[in-house]
Amino acid sequence: MNTLVFEDFKPGHLGQFGPRRVTREEMLAFAAEFDPQPMHLDEEAASRSMLKGLSGSGWHLCSVTMRMMFDGIIGRTASLGSPGVNELRWLAPLRPGDDLMLDVDVTEARVSRSRPTTGVVTLKAVVSNAAGQALCEMVTPIIVRRRHDVGSGQAG
């Protein structure tokens, strides 16, 4: 199993991942627990909202994006976590039954000043629906172990 380390991340396109279907049931369950606004739960209220129809919570879309990033990259990366998200834009609503695709680019990769055995890899993630319309775009740094550090103290 090849674990990706800091040195594997170069600026440029990293890959496209998916599809991941978001069902109406999943959308409603997330909204009921974390974001119970009428535009995410009630067809009638949603049709009168700015988004003109039932839409998923933006935080659900973020969380699904995280899962797609895990399945695509982070699950096979020596990742130590993330300090945050520089910018996130919700561009179009998530709809029931959407099949999502994720595109990830590396925008920057630099050695950490405060923790030199690690690097900071900045990823730009764009999630699109099956029609190719971008729904969400985020720029987020992740902390990744450097190669010379991977072998030390670990078997295999």
């Binding site: 997330f30 627990e33 974390f34 974001d35 119970p36 606004q37 009428p38 535009m39 909202s49 700015m50 988004l51 839409s55 919570s57 933006g58 935080w59 659900h60 973020c62 969380s63 699904v64 995280m66 899962r67 895990f70 982070i74 699950g75 990742s79 130590l80 976590g81 993330s82 300090p83 945050g84 998200v85 520089n86 910018e87 996130l88 834009r89 919700w90 609503p93 902390i143």
Partner: protein, 160 residues
């Protein structure tokens, strides 16, 4: 929720608190963020976080949950005063989200929101645009979470 005209820069709302349990952290992580330090106590202890840590997206989603609950409280108060209810619009996004310290199993996080800026929307005159700094603070008074979020807020006399 309040109308755009009723909001001032600097206004602060206490949104309430939420305790992150080990079960809740693992349930969210299994679905959305199955990194080992979000799923297993021992892996969490060995990680930079020093214990079973909630996914940052879990923390953000809980902040949203408390924002919505606070909005419902304000709507009920408006109804009790016989006033019109302001239904907020969707958010175009956020900036400067920082997971400053880990949220570990058992931590109780208190969330608050402070209005940072207000401007009118040139393309949608019936809406104003609010930027708010939403924060989470743990039971030791340490800031753990911060985000500068944007939302569309209805004007009181929209459409009249």
């Amino acid at each position: 929720m309040l109308f755009f005209e009723d909001i001032e820069v600097g206004q602060r709302r206490e949104l309430g608190s939420f305790t992150f349990t080990a079960d809740g952290i693992k349930k969210f992580a299994r679905q959305f963020d199955p990194q080992r330090f979000h799923l297993d106590e021992e892996e969490g202890r060995k990680s930079l976080f020093g214990g079973l840590a909630a996914s940052g997206w879990h923390v953000g989603s809980v902040c949203m949950k408390l924002l919505v609950a606070d909005g419902l409280r304000q709507a009920r108060e408006a109804v009790a005063r016989g006033e019109k209810i302001a239904v907020w619009g969707p958010s175009p996004g956020f900036r400067e989200l920082r997971w400053i310290r880990p949220v570990l199993a058992g931590d109780t996080i208190s969330f608050a929101s402070v209005v940072e800026s207000l401007r009118s929307s040139s393309s949608r005159p019936e809406w104003g645009i609010l930027q708010g700094r939403n924060t989470g603070t743990n039971q030791r008074g340490e800031l753990v979470f911060s985000v500068l979020a944007t939302a569309f807020v209805p004007r009181r006399n929209a459409g009249t």
